[in-house]
């Protein structure tokens, strides 16, 4: 019992700040002790995952729509911001994803730190990033949320800028400026919301209640939502704010791309579901058709852009734009069905695209190029790597039985019957367009697979020794591959956790617009 009480009070805080503590310890270890750094980082991420696992195991799955392990302590009183954290059905899948992925990234980097190496700095940044990501998913106070949301920027900026590809400096600053622009408008929105709601709390649930009780004028609501839309939308990224993404993903080191795709993009979609929709349901209904339209434009645009890519990593990056389009379409329907699909889409995309970036990194390491036309015949040279690429590509294009399907298909289906106050015709058009997008997705992924894995090895690599999947790669990839399959077969693993929470979000929106 004592143990449980400790876990209830301190579990989440411990989980969020353990990586930061680890980073501080690592700062004191000299740089030359590379092996020590690797072990400390691995131990810290595993310990964090352990604490997180204990929390997730202790979570009461009978009440996923209520906040559990909640802590609400005073923090910065003068600005009425509180240290309010907690998890519910929406947080758990994303927290779990983050907890799983970071140790895998440490394992994957074990023997191949990109130039200029310096594992100490690399791993410290990774740990700081870890704290930022976990914090965002558990924060229940807008200011705390904002702080964690921004903490991830700095480490990612340096990961891209120091360890990235040739255009790394350009990509890093572009990523930073784009996201900061969104956040600056977002914080103005948060403040406006705070004053509209009476000016005494930033706690999300209380804000939602206050806003519902006071009559916020239509335009105020729309503008505030607009500010949040910029903040979250750039992070997702929604078309036309996606231009930072291909550069950042392509230039980032493998681990950076994996974390960017798997977790950072989710901060945006998570923000929509956690903050924007519950607090401003009426404005959400008015914005939904626009978001839906941009989402389907993103799906088609991303797919077409993929077809035109000659670089494997850039292709995967653009496929993210398309996939996040499905997630946003699910959110835009404002139905429990669509929101569930969106959360599933986030998890699935995290696993699958993360995996694709891992593979791209490994291919790059073996072939020293990612130019699709110079690759070819991976199945001959490194059959296991080729099969894993095939498996992941299938999952990415939404093959039933693998995780990707459960993110994409329900999202499309949910647009058939959008939530109260939304035009059925409009959303059915979106549905058709999105469905066409899946065909494109099959097209570009199969074509990519055909050009890289099938056929014969190109002449330049014919006599090169291309090693197959190594042990650290197996260790890092096996859990992800297994999860892609397991979630594909038992999607209820995720849906059961998220359903109650998403239903209550959708219901409160429907209630707010009187539908």
């Amino acid at each position: 019992m004592d143990n449980n009480q400790f876990l209830t009070d301190w579990g989440l805080t411990l989980m969020v700040f353990l990586p930061l503590a680890g980073a501080l310890v690592m700062m004191l270890i000299p740089r030359t002790e590379e092996v020590t750094h690797k072990w400390v980082a691995l131990a810290v991420t595993l310990a964090t995952a352990g604490v997180g696992a204990a929390v997730i195991a202790d979570f009461d799955y009978g009440a996923t729509d209520t906040l559990q392990f909640a802590v609400n302590e005073s923090w910065i009183d003068v600005i009425h911001s509180r240290y309010a954290i907690g998890i519910d059905g929406l947080s758990i899948p994303l927290v779990a994803l983050t907890l799983l992925l970071t140790p895998l990234c440490v394992v994957y980097s074990w023997n191949h730190f990109p130039e200029p190496r310096n594992p100490k700095a690399f791993l410290i940044l990774l740990l700081v990033l870890h704290t930022g990501m976990l914090g965002t998913f558990v924060a229940q106070d807008l200011i705390l949320f904002f702080v964690f949301f921004e903490i991830v920027l700095l480490p990612m900026y340096f990961l891209i800028g120091v360890w990235g590809g040739e255009q790394r400096q350009y990509a890093a600053i572009k990523f930073f400026l784009f996201t900061l622009f969104g956040s600056a408008l977002m914080i103005v929105s948060f403040l406006a919301l705070f004053f509209v709601a009476g000016g005494d709390t930033f706690v999300i649930s209380e804000l939602a209640q206050r806003v519902a009780e006071s009559d916020v004028s239509r335009w105020t609501g729309l503008l505030i939502f607009g500010g949040m839309f910029m903040g979250f939308g750039i992070k997702v990224p929604i078309f036309p704010f996606h231009t930072w993404l291909p550069d950042a993903h392509t230039q980032a080191p493998t681990v950076g791309s994996v974390i960017l795709a798997a977790v950072l993009l989710k901060l945006g979609t998570y923000g929509f579901v956690r903050v924007a929709l519950p607090i401003l349901p009426e404005a959400a209904v008015e914005w939904a058709p626009i978001i839906g339209a941009l989402a389907v434009v993103g799906i088609i645009y991303g797919a077409l852009a993929c077809l035109a890519q000659t670089d494997m990593k850039r292709l995967i990056a653009f496929s993210s734009v398309a996939h996040m389009g499905f997630t946003m379409l699910g959110i835009a329907t404002l139905t429990d069905f669509g929101l569930n699909a969106a959360v599933m889409g986030m998890v699935a995309h995290g696993l699958i695209t993360g995996m694709l970036f891992f593979i791209a990194g490994s291919v790059k390491e073996r072939y020293h190029t990612l130019e699709i036309r110079r690759l070819g015949g991976i199945l001959l040279k490194a059959p296991r790597l080729g099969w894993i690429l095939g498996f992941t590509a299938m999952a990415s294009l939404g093959l039933p039985g693998l995780a990707g399907f459960w993110g994409e298909f329900p999202a499309i289906l949910s647009a058939y019957e959008p939530g109260a106050g939304l035009s059925q015709v409009t959303f059915r058009i979106y549905m058709v367009v999105a469905a066409i997008g899946t065909v494109f997705a099959a097209g570009y992924l199969l074509w990519l697979y055909q050009r890289t894995a099938f056929g014969t090895t190109t002449e330049e690599f014919e006599n090169e020794d291309i090693p197959d999947v190594t042990v650290p790669e197996w260790v890092a990839w096996a859990p992800m591959l297994a999860l892609i399959l397991v979630i594909g077969i038992f999607p209820n693993l995720v849906f059961r956790v998220t359903d109650d929470q998403m239903t209550s979000v959708a219901q409160s929106i429907a209630a707010a617009v009187g539908g």
């Binding site: 003068v78 702080v147 700095l154 120091v162 400026l177 600056a184 408008l185 914080i187 103005v188």
Partner: protein, 502 residues
């Protein structure tokens, strides 16, 4: 004869009651500066190193009465209301003393190792700090003016301290000429104010200005006074002295000017705007709005083009001043929030900006340059300095969890709180500007982290003890202010307007 004298002596002369406790912080500084001056005369050349220690200890000593006064609580007013020791004054006195102490730490090696007069340097520095601590308490036009001159005149001399360097001369002359011109404008405005109000006390002026209508002479007076202080805080379009002065002055003096001297200007401006011109907010607001928008935008855009880090910090300081002016653009509409947010901003700005200058000085000891490319590869040969500089720069850019975000946040909060179209427009300009500023701060970070050392020289930087101490103070504060409520609590404490709107 003797009898008449005795008669005079017996006449009832009422000495004004002096609250020595209230004056103690300033008196300690006076004592120390006299001590430094005298000690300099009698110390042999090789023992001059005692002087900075003496000055530093004196400044810390002056903090003691500040603390006892704070513990004692209550507002004390002296000299018929011309001099007040309330929480506002105490918080700012503490700021000036700590910032002054860090400046002494920065100066220790720089002044000792260069070919400079040491005793006079610390004497003038302490005089200037004394002007600032007096400014924090000044509630009267004359006191404000005396304090302003007391802090400015030594600063003119300090700015030109590198007297054999043409750039140093340019720094001193430019600062002096611009400064006295601003003083002239300010005095003219003050004389108009006195003419209208018939009193020099801020509270009396506030009553006299409460006409309820706009009178041209009052507006003119307000504009002149504000313009006079706009020079001091280097707000656009009164900023032209700042970059040249900052570049030419000795780096510790630059740090001092960009933090303490600027803060003193803001203190005076705050007192005038919140107390004196309380009833003339309609005149002040558009003026501040324009100054804020111009300062942050032009400061930022020009900073983007700088290749010298000190010049860049000068322009970034101009832009930061714009952020501090922003809450004054909604004065009168948000109760005491103007005070809380500007004081919070000043505290945080002092910590992070002094920190940035400290790193510049530490690195310049090896590279001998403040050009941005000379910071290349710093992460490889001086990782701690590079990490600290990264912390200070991104704090200045306002990236959480570093203190700067909270400073920007309280400024945003104050502006959005006003809930007017103009205020929202200002908030959007601030949002855009905080993004622009990131570009040049990140550029320095990029140089340190991502580019190689320009000359391939990888020998580590030797950081002297005094600079290490300065880095520790500013670094700890920059990190702590960002995640604790200390800065905002102090800012809130300094708020002497009782009716605070949430």
């Amino acid at each position: 004869m003797l009898a008449t004298l005795g008669q005079v002596a017996q006449d009832p002369f009422a000495r004004p009651a002096v609250d020595w406790h209230a004056l103690a912080p300033d008196l300690v500084v006076v004592g120390v500066l006299c001590l430094v001056l005298v000690a300099d005369l009698f110390l042999p050349e090789d023992r001059k190193a005692v002087l900075p220690s003496l000055a530093g200890l004196g400044l810390l000593g002056a903090l003691v009465p500040v603390l006892t006064l704070a513990v004692d609580g209550g507002d004390r007013t002296l000299f018929g209301g011309a001099y007040a020791v309330d929480n506002f004054a105490l918080v700012l006195k503490a700021l000036f003393l700590v910032a002054g102490y860090v400046t002494v730490l920065l100066s220790t090696n720089y002044i000792a190792e260069g070919d400079y007069a040491e005793g006079e340097y610390y004497f003038l520095l302490l005089s200037s700090i004394l002007g600032m601590t007096v400014m924090a308490s000044a509630r009267d036009l004359i006191t404000i003016f005396v304090a302003l001159e007391m802090l400015s005149i030594p600063a003119y001399l300090l700015a030109g301290w590198r007297k054999r360097d043409p750039k140093g001369n340019e720094a001193g002359v430019k600062y002096y000429l611009m400064g006295v011109f601003a003083t002239g404008v300010l005095l003219y405005g003050m004389s108009l104010l006195y003419g209208v109000a018939g009193t020099t006390q801020l509270s009396g002026i506030a009553e006299a200005l409460a006409t309820g209508e706009s009178v041209p002479v009052i507006s003119l007076a307000v504009v002149f006074v504000v313009a006079g202080f706009a020079f001091k805080v280097s707000a656009v379009p009164f900023h032209t002295w700042a970059p040249d002065t900052y570049e030419g002055a000795p780096t510790p003096v630059t740090a001092f000017l960009s933090v303490s001297s600027k803060a003193a200007g803001f203190v005076a401006l705050l007192q005038l705007v919140v107390i004196g011109f309380a009833e003339q907010a309609e005149v002040v607001r558009p003026l501040m709005w324009a100054l804020a928008v111009l300062s942050m935008t032009i400061g930022n855009v020009v900073a983007l083009r700088q290749t010298n880090l000190v010049r860049m910090l000068a322009y970034s300081g101009i832009s930061q001043a714009g952020f501090m002016l922003a809450p004054m653009a909604v004065v009168g509409q948000i109760g005491g929030d103007t005070l809380t947010s500007v004081v919070t901003y000043l505290l945080i700005y002092a910590a992070m900006n002094l920190g940035a200058f400290t790193v510049v000085m530490a690195v310049a000891r090896k590279t001998g340059s403040a050009e941005i490319p000379s910071f290349g590869g710093l992460i490889n040969y001086a990782p701690s300095l590079a990490v600290l500089m990264t912390v200070f720069l991104f704090s200045l850019a306002g990236i959480p969890p570093l203190a700067g975000w909270l400073a920007k946040f309280v400024a945003f909060r104050a502006v959005v709180n006003a809930d007017t179209g103009w205020a929202y427009a200002l908030a959007v300009v601030m949002a855009v500007n905080s993004v622009i500023s990131l570009a040049y701060y990140a550029n320095v970070a990029k140089e340190m982290w991502m580019n190689p050392a320009p000359d391939g020289d990888q020998t580590p930087v030797r950081v002297p003890v005094s600079l290490t101490a300065a880095l520790t103070i500013t670094g700890v504060l920059t990190l702590a202010f960002g995640v604790t409520q200390w800065a905002t609590e102090l800012g809130d404490m300094a708020n002497f307007v009782a009716s605070a709107v949430p």
